[in-house]
């Protein structure tokens, strides 16, 4: 019952999980961020896929990210009529360049819009949005 109530309250977009992405979303629930690394050619990739996009090998392993990186670019969103988001304005979107060498898109949280900068060190901040989903966001590194 409590879960039903929580689901109803959260109006923002939730990802749809499939076999390729399930381990990623299970890890975020444990507050861990994973990218992928190819066992055959060493290529690091994000988002998760069943194959390595450098060599099409199926031998792709999960690589735990430090969650640390730097802001590659960002924007403060002042307009989004979408359900859930319109009540959350303004919010910061950003590409974070992870220490593992891949860029990931997320929100920057615990940060005032006027404080976000390109090159700013950030760390993963996990947000449990529903009992089933945890999103990985980033906050200024402590």
């Amino acid at each position: 019952m409590a879960e039903e109530k929580e689901k109803k309250r959260y109006e923002k977009f939730l990802p749809s999980i499939d076999e390729e992405s399930r381990p990623f979303w299970e890890a975020t629930k444990r507050h861990e961020l994973y990218v992928q690394k190819c066992r055959d050619c060493g290529f690091v990739q994000f988002h998760p896929r069943a194959v390595c996009t450098a060599c099409l090998s199926s031998s792709v392993q999960w690589l735990k990210s430090s969650g640390r990186g730097k802001i590659y670019t960002w924007s403060v969103t002042n307009q989004n009529p979408g359900r859930g988001f319109r009540d959350a304005l303004p919010y910061i979107v950003a590409y974070v360049d992870l220490d593992e060498g891949v860029k990931i898109f997320a929100n920057v949280v615990d940060c005032k819009p006027e404080e976000v900068k390109i090159g700013m060190p950030v760390e993963a901040a996990f947000t449990d949005v529903t009992p089933e989903f945890t999103l990985v966001n980033f906050r200024p590194a402590r």
Partner: protein
């Protein structure tokens, strides 16, 4: 094998509507096709190639052929966003050159103002990547805004410089009786308009309008016997950029590749181009495409777009119809790049006809989203 001067644009029509609550999208296409074929001196019975951007099945080529009661033997529903129609012109030139069709009809319409799309303002709902974007409240404008932010960081580009582009487009729109917004604006007006997604202001963004249009193409040989002066395709290029599995450099846009191809295939250089129709979804989209086309050096677009250079009476006129920033943008405006380029090359620009003599024009589009994944399509057109 080169496609240089094998095919030509022989008929164009831009539907004048910007708000069409009483028209279906099919009707707008039919009306546009009628006028574009009349412009060419051809009839609907001549059409054996049908090119449109599909669109979730709603405007697939089979449904459209059914509506128009035509029986095309060659169709192409390539849809990679707003630049698709520039790609269609390239594909039509190839098909005509290979003898796969004789008269190609490229067409488009959409009515997002009179029948607004419900739902999220997300980038590309349904793509595998969107699961890692949409939960964060990504909007279309975010992608362009983050690209602009990075351009400002790497090259020192300013909001004032981007605003110059919007001001010029509005000047051109003031001379286009069909444009949606025609009252002149200043750089200050752009900077004072509200910030939608930093650093982009409301007036850095294209308008939303209803609309549509059609383009007719045929072989260069047949084109010479038709009503209007042919506008030849001298070359084309297509390319894509996306997240590259996390390795994307946002400053490297697809137009870098499509421009290289179009110059190689046409044998021309940036200096040979007299005017340009450049997809202006946002001011930053124009600036980065100009750099990619080699009109100025990478990173120097900010300074280059000022001083009236892009005006119809300037050194390098662009978007003489007022562009998406002021004239019309039903969602995918690539077809209007072809239409206005053809009108200019024929000398049919009226009050906004370029002051300099024109031999060549480049039409280039970015479809999808500059900051996430996009496709560039580019053609060089000539009246001789």
């Amino acid at each position: 094998m080169s496609l240089k001067k094998k095919a030509a644009i022989v008929g164009v029509y831009e539907h004048p509507t910007r708000f069409a609550p009483s028209k279906t999208t099919y009707q707008i296409i039919a009306e546009s096709a009628r006028e574009a074929l009349a412009d060419a001196g051809l009839t609907i019975k001549d059409v054996d190639g049908l090119f449109n951007a599909g669109g979730g099945g709603l405007l697939g080529s089979l449904a459209l052929a059914d509506y128009l009661n035509i029986f095309p033997t060659y169709t192409d529903t390539t849809n990679y966003g707003g630049s698709s129609f520039v790609g269609h012109a390239a594909h039509a030139a190839a098909a005509i050159s290979a003898g796969l069709c004789k008269v190609a009809l490229i067409c488009y319409s959409a009515t997002p103002v009179s029948t607004p799309m419900a739902g999220i303002a997300g980038a590309m709902a349904g793509d595998p990547s969107s699961n890692y974007e949409n939960p964060y409240g990504v909007t279309i404008i975010n992608g362009y805004a983050m690209t602009a932010q990075r351009h400002m960081h790497e090259y020192g580009t300013t909001s004032e410089q981007l605003a110059e582009i919007a001001v010029t487009m509005r000047l051109h729109a003031s001379m286009n009786p069909n444009a949606k917004y025609r009252d002149p604006i200043t750089v200050e007006d752009v900077l004072k308009s509200r910030v939608i997604s930093s650093p982009l202001h409301l007036l850095d963004c294209c308008v939303v309008s209803d609309g549509g249009g059609a383009v007719v193409m045929t072989s260069a040989e047949r084109a010479r016997d038709l009503r209007k002066k042919p506008v030849y395709i001298l070359g084309s290029g297509e390319a894509m950029r996306h997240a590259a599995a996390g390795h994307r450099d946002l400053m490297d846009i697809a137009t870098n590749d499509s421009a290289r191809q179009v110059y190689e295939r046409s044998g021309l250089t940036p200096k040979d181009i007299d005017m340009a129709m450049i997809y202006d979804s946002f001011t930053i989209t124009v600036l980065m495409q100009l750099e990619a086309l080699g009109m100025c050096k990478k990173g120097e677009g900010g300074a280059w777009v000022g001083g009236g250079r892009l005006r119809y009476d300037g050194e390098f006129p662009i978007n003489t119809d007022g562009g998406g920033l002021s004239s019309n943008h039903p969602g995918m405006r690539g077809i209007f790049l072809l239409i206005e380029a053809a009108r200019q090359l024929r000398g049919e620009g009226g009050a906004r006809q370029c002051k300099k003599p024109l031999r060549t024009a480049i039409a280039t589009g970015i479809g999808g989203n500059l900051g996430y994944r996009h496709a560039a399509a580019t053609v060089i057109l000539s009246n001789e």
